[in-house]
């Protein structure tokens, strides 16, 4: 550890808050926007969500069909690799478990998933990181429809991983056997991105 001469930092968070903030993160009340390119604005009439299994279409929902699926609320902390964390964010959407059930799968496939988004963004997961109520396709934030700037009409919400994994403008989940790096993962970010293990970049832990 290298002590930085003269650095005091700001007032420390209380112990309860501190336990909720992963290493290297700071808490913000703002909701920063980070996107590699322009904001995508897909109308609800043109929006569909597809699940693919080994390259074949497994299921597809339009907006009304998605809204008709069981809706789950999630209150959670989120952690961006650019160092900000935001506590107690409230979301609503459809869990990946419910989507898999709606797709007719009795149990989830094994292996990995690639999320594909409007604008060409992609990100990869182990399926284990998406099931058991850990992740959803979120359509609402703090009781309002998710704005386009934050990934609306629908984004992934995988809050136990760094927030680049909560891909904005989600359109397709491709289930496959192999773990292939997505957009940021092929440009130097960590393949999994667990904030508690500080897996920010390729080579971390």
């Amino acid at each position: 550890m290298h002590i930085t001469r003269g650095f005091k930092g700001k007032a420390r968070a209380d112990a309860a808050t501190r336990d909720r903030v992963p290493p290297g993160q700071f808490v913000t009340s703002d909701f920063p926007i980070l996107t590699a390119g322009p904001t995508q604005r897909t109308g609800l009439d043109d929006w569909t969500l597809s699940f693919q299994l080994d390259g074949k279409l497994l299921a597809r929902w339009d907006w009304k069909e998605l809204e008709a699926l069981p809706q789950t609320e999630m209150k959670t902390d989120i952690h961006c690799v650019t160092k900000w964390s935001k506590l107690d964010t409230r979301w609503r959407g459809v869990t990946i478990d419910d989507l898999l059930r709606a797709a007719g799968l009795a149990e989830s496939p094994a292996g990995f998933v690639m999320a594909h988004c409007d604008g060409g963004y992609s990100t990869n997961y182990a399926i284990a990181d998406l099931i058991d109520s850990r992740a959803m396709v979120a359509t609402h934030y703090e009781d309002s429809p998710l704005p386009a700037s934050h990934g609306g009409p629908a984004r992934m919400l995988v809050p136990h991983l760094y927030f680049w994994k909560s891909a904005k403008w989600i359109r397709r989940l491709a289930f496959k056997e192999q773990n292939v790096p997505g957009f940021w993962e092929s440009l130097g970010d960590h393949l999994r991105g667990d904030p508690w293990r500080e897996q920010r970049y390729s080579g971390d832990e």
Binding site: T4, F7, G9, D30, I33, G119, G188, G203, D204
Partner: protein, 248 residues
């Protein structure tokens, strides 16, 4: 991209005030492995009680293997790290940093096609690295910068940008001032809208590589304008910073 990004000890070699509230900090970084233009570093500050703060800053110095790197830092008034960097840090001090980080918001002189840069405020830093890299490589790639500042005294790197523009090597600089415009000002005025992007930038058919860096509302507005003008979405690379004004 697979090698470990180790924390390195960087020693401050020079501090230069660019404008009120903006300083360029030069570091010597033994073990630095070089960078390309547009990348950033993470810095890590540790207080005596073990408290740690990390932040990211763009590299402003040109690409290459030189272990002397520069960051240009703007004060965030209620910030935790930038006031320390601007007010406390002295020549000879050391801080931890690691990098380079980021493989998307980057440009190299070998890239075919024009370079179109749009900066708001201190968002000029990574774009300055691109322009410095271009100049050092004697690249003739057509390049244009639209640079939005609040007032004349807020313009960062002003003298150097004027010199780069004056070299007449294919780089054209356009300033715009959004708040205070002095008498006799020959640049643009007001926020960058579609007209200056069309008249002072490259046309979509010229297939420029577009880099936009600045505060979030600035970048959002510019990116939307660029798409509306007809630029390919995949040609527009953005970096946003600062508050969105959304407290929820």
């Amino acid at each position: 991209m697979n090698s470990l990004l180790r924390w390195l000890l960087a020693t401050v070699s020079q501090l230069h005030e660019e404008t009120a509230g903006v300083k360029t900090i030069s570091f010597d970084v033994p073990g630095w492995r070089g960078h390309v233009a547009g990348q950033h570093v993470d810095i890590r500050l540790t207080a005596e009680d073990g408290y740690v703060a990390q932040r990211s800053y763009s590299l402003a110095s040109p690409a290459g293997p030189d272990p002397r790197i520069q960051l240009t830092v703007e004060r965030v008034d209620d910030g935790e790290v930038s006031p320390f960097l601007l007010d406390e840090l002295r020549v000879g001090d050391s801080i931890e940093l690691r990098g380079p980080i980021g493989g998307y918001f980057t440009w190299s002189p070998g890239t075919a096609g024009p370079l179109m840069l749009i900066a708001g405020g201190s968002g000029i830093a990574p774009l300055m690295s691109m322009l410095r890299t271009r100049a050092l490589a004697s690249s003739r790639a057509p390049a244009r910068l639209l640079y939005s500042s609040r007032s004349e005294r807020h313009i960062i790197y002003r003298g150097e940008l004027d010199r780069l523009h004056g070299a007449r090597d294919g780089f054209i600089l356009t300033h715009t001032l959004t708040r205070e415009v002095p008498d006799g000002w020959t640049g643009e005025r007001g926020r960058i809208g579609r007209t200056p992007l069309t008249q002072r930038g490259f046309a979509p058919r010229e297939r420029p590589h577009v880099f936009v860096c600045g505060p979030t509302p600035f970048v959002d507005a510019i990116a939307d304008h660029l798409v509306a003008i007809g630029h390919e979405e995949s040609s527009i690379r953005t970096e946003r910073f600062g508050p969105t004004g959304e407290s929820k």
